[in-house]
Amino acid sequence: MALKKFVVGCFDEEKVLFPAVDKVRHAGYKIHDIYTPFPVHGLDKAMGLRDTSLHTAGFIYGLTGTTTAVTFMSWVFTKDWPMNIGGKPHFALPAWIPITFELTVLMAAVGMVLTFCYICQLAPFIKKHHFHARATDDLFVMVIECTDKTDEAALSAYLDSVGAKEINTQVAEDGWWIGRYDREQKLYNEPTIA
């Protein structure tokens, strides 16, 4: 486990969050992540994240499906066991379109979902550190990683000046581990703000 120190600032309005992201980045702080309860469009660009290439992976999985289906069916019907079905040609490409299509979709979808889970490290029994319980409810939780040079007090004050409603410092594990939420996460309390 590699424990790191983070300064956490919670925002409750997109209108405040976006300028804050700009300012924090311009002030030279490195935003570790922002946890939001729903996909906030434009936030990834504001944070300077690059586009995901998940769709490219999906395309490759799809092509794999197409190739698998066509090569397998042609191997079965022309090489392995050529069957005479009503005198029709062994290599019956039009009749293979439905299965080829279905396998393309199947492989693309399954491949993409598995890839998604892998790169986001999502699976049952995975435990991660959650900086705020309301990040999945109504708060936008900005997390800034501290380096040796970071002045926590100054950073907290800065977050306060850009509009964060709740600011604290947390020492937490950065990655994931096998664990159970009922043992490691506190049960829900009343809302901390508002």
Binding site: F38, P39, T52, F101, E102, D137, D182, Q185
Partner: protein
């Protein structure tokens, strides 16, 4: 302000009332966190009872053979395949709502997509039972799978529409399930993070896969949803097309028709939306979700019903015209003597009334927005669509080319009916469990559209409407969101 996408004030709000993000969470999660009501238990136990009857009916069929059903050599496909097509058809609305309407940017889908997708998955599970048990020797069902076996290996016939069906239905089920569950992850995390009991924390902790809501994860999630929607769109059309190939590729009058694929797809969407209406109208009332599934949601779905109902009506008339125009005596006899008239004539006219004539009443706005009328119509349409499949299957085969093999009047046996009732039990058992333990409305998606389409936020659009082009452009570019800038400009012009 311009961080929020512009949405015309002319459009009706999708979320009524003054809501904050937290209110949305509360409204949708409270039924999960409360004890089930008595009504829920009653419904659940009735469903389980029906399911048990279904299991017993299937036990009879498996033990004593297909002879338990009143099928014969002439009518080889009766209630079972009718029910199969009916359930698969119902299973089309969910993916249509979640995939096609996502690509068309129809934001009203957010209110109903979660429950509709769940309905899709359960309906496909029900549908799958029929062809599997219709095999008779169900323990050999795995013969349909192409795996290296000890019989040669002998491969299934990939040129057969029935084989295509195996691939289509199983792919459809898998992809719908993945799409549905990927969308559920963030909402499961929402329930997990507000759990007040250890057990709930553990269960939803496992179910949420450790979702945190990281921006990068959301970005990938959005990309995943979009691509899965793009994949599901042709998939949903292909599934019922392939189901229609089961009929259309045979040379039986009444089945051998090129119009079948579009006709079946339209019918599937038609019946699927009717089932969505039936379930949503009850659900919004019982669970108090009137502010999320609003009258305008109901109205747009009724518009889809009247459109697809009319397409189906056109298809029925085209079939009759083509039979007459073809000059083929078998076709003509089949349609004009044995289908619209004859011993099963009543089922044809029942289908016509339920599917073509009665939905036309939805041209009236007042009726489209009338909840009682919509509920009644949704059931009428589902009855009509069941009879459509019955008409297509039974009336096409009960009198074939050879008069000596014409069948007697076909009546289902109690075990055939029991199997059908059993799938109702299965469907509603699943749906009741879903309604109790899953967020029935996509929480994150509602939050995403809340500030553009929520009733109390719509007034803020006036500010955008009053801005000049230059202001809009400057405002949008200030926030470094090009996509958004284009949107606002188009909307304004």
């Amino acid at each position: 302000m311009s961080l929020i996408k512009y949405e015309s004030q002319v459009r009706e709000p999708l979320v009524d009332g003054h809501k904050t993000y937290h209110d949305v969470t509360e409204d949708i999660c409270h039924t999960i966190e409360a004890k089930p009501t008595r009504l829920w238990y009653i419904g659940f136990y009735i469903s389980v009872a029906l399911l048990m009857f279904g299991v017993f009916s299937v036990y009879r069929e498996v033990t004593y053979g297909i002879g338990q059903w009143n099928l014969g050599r002439t009518i080889g496909w009766g209630w079972d395949i009718t029910n199969f097509v009916w359930w698969v058809g119902i299973g089309h609305a969910g993916t249509l709502i979640s995939a096609i309407l996502l690509l068309f940017r129809q934001r009203w889908r957010t209110g109903v997509n979660r429950a509709a997708e769940a309905m899709t998955i359960f309906a496909v599970i029900c549908a799958g039972q029929f062809p599997i048990f219709h095999m008779g020797r169900v323990w050999m069902a795995f013969f349909t799978l192409p795996y290296p076996n000890t019989r040669g290996p002998l491969w299934p016939n990939f040129n057969s529409p029935l084989m295509w069906d195996v691939f289509a239905i199983s792919t459809y089920f898998t992809v719908s399930l993945l799409f549905w569950y990927a969308g559920l992850l963030p909402d499961m995390a929402t329930i997990r993070d507000r759990a007040k009991t250890k057990f709930r924390k553990m269960m939803y902790g496992v179910a949420a896969f450790g979702w945190t809501g990281s921006t990068k994860h959301w970005q990938r999630h959005e990309s995943l949803s979009l691509v899965l929607a793009g994949l599901s769109t042709p998939l949903v059309l292909s599934v019922h097309t392939i189901v229609s190939f089961d009929f259309a590729t045979s040379i039986i009058p009444g089945w051998h028709t090129t119009i079948f694929p579009p006709y079946f797809v339209a019918g599937a969407i038609f019946s699927g939306f009717a089932m969505v209406q039936t379930l949503m109208l009850v659900m919004r009332k019982v669970m108090g979700l009137e502010q999320y599934i609003t009258l305008s949601h109901i109205e747009v779905m009724n518009k889809v019903i009247v459109l697809t109902g009319s397409i189906v009506g056109c298809a029925y008339l085209t079939e009759l015209f083509m039979a007459w125009y073809s000059m083929v005596p078998y076709e003509q006899d089949h349609f004009f003597k044995y289908r619209i008239a004859g011993p099963y004539g009543w089922s044809y006219w029942l289908m016509m009334t339920c599917n073509v004539i009665s939905p036309q009443l939805f041209w009236f706005r007042k009726l489209r927005r009338n909840i009682t009328f919509t509920f009644v119509m949704s059931i009428v349409v589902n009855i009509g669509m069941w009879f459509e499949r019955f008409v297509i299957i039974v009336t096409s085969i009960y009198r074939d080319y050879l008069p000596s093999s014409w069948s007697l009047y076909y009546r289902p046996s109690i075990w055939e009916i029991g199997f059908y009732l059993g799938t109702f039990g299965l469907f509603f058992t699943c749906f009741f469990l879903f309604a109790k333990y899953f967020p029935v409305i996509a929480i994150a998606e509602i939050k995403h559209v809340l500030k553009t389409s929520g009733e109390s936020y719509k007034g803020e659009m006036t500010g955008i409407e009053r801005m000049t082009d230059e202001q809009l452009y400057a405002d949008a570019h200030h926030h470094d969101d090009d996509h958004h800038a284009a949107d606002v400009k188009v909307a304004h012009n």
